[in-house]
Symmetry: C2
Subunit: 214 residues, 2 copies
Amino acid sequence: MSKPITLYSHGTGPNPWKVDLILRELNIPYETEWMDFADLKKEPFESKVSPNGRVPAIHDPNTNITLWESGAIIEYLVATYDKSAALTYTSSPEKYHVSQWLHFQMSGQGPYFGQAAWFWKFHQEQLPSAKERYFEQVKRVFYVLDKALKGKTWLVGDKCTIADLSFVTWDGMAAKMGIEKNYPDYYAWNQRLVARPSVQKMLKDKEAAMAAGH
Amino acid sequence: MSKPITLYSHGTGPNPWKVDLILRELNIPYETEWMDFADLKKEPFESKVSPNGRVPAIHDPNTNITLWESGAIIEYLVATYDKSAALTYTSSPEKYHVSQWLHFQMSGQGPYFGQAAWFWKFHQEQLPSAKERYFEQVKRVFYVLDKALKGKTWLVGDKCTIADLSFVTWDGMAAKMGIEKNYPDYYAWNQRLVARPSVQKMLKDKEAAMAAGH
């Protein structure tokens, strides 16, 4: 490949940084186009990049694809650029178990953590029973991961894959809830992820992007 | 293949029927194991089938895989049994656009429609602002699909794929909200999906399963 991928991103949301992290891990050249939230749900972004009006999205000039949904982007990146399968598997059942955990991140962790953040931080009124509902759902996600990680270092097989990496950008929020230490196998896994140089650098750049108002 | 796949399912939830529908479309032999909700979030189901304690899940004795998360199961089924790519694409960018819409169904439609159903039907108290929030999110999903379908018959390329089929089992709920006709391209697409013999048969069997108390 020769030309850098454009990553449409935003400083605060966890999802663009999930894709950012995989781009770093695979040493894929990319440049970030910072989007204002106000510009996402209108033209030209909706027609030219994402009808869903959300980030992340990418445009890859090498293959001429425009793609949104972080899980689909990550699948595209490993299929196209991870030729040695450093972050995934090519054999069954491992490759499908990677997909299973990626889908759990997309449909379980992301939406529930997102709703928890909404009712705890952004909703127009305090709704204790809604806050409680999503606090319980966040704990359930920890419980599922903790249970799956008993006696294991990574979610699938013996290496860190996109399945593991996809969870880490949402976990910062959950750590603020102070409950991660109740799930020791989850916690140790999260610490292994956070210790990776790519994650360290991503977290630092995320902080800088937010400080810069992106 | 020789032996039927076991589909762990339940009568009421939309997600198991998503997998059921793809098994039908691909003429894959399968047998349904009906699960009680009470048995999902405990042993042996959590350790033997799904640590997430939810359905759908499958066991395929032909490849000896056990898998959960409806999106991952569907990806497995087409990769393993849809050799003529009847319901998907093998070329780029179409195959990634199928993945993109499947992920939107998993992370957008499913969770938001599910939260709407929760606050409208099951939550322990009436919370008008929470109900309103998810009603707006359901409308947003219709808006995105309606916009993407302008001038098109199916979401990706010129044929019905797993991307289209994955949305149909949740749409029954949304139809009850009486808003689908406000999104004419979405509505026409949904009518095309519902007219398929496999969808007709699935909806009939879902009704029978619920009547039988599954």
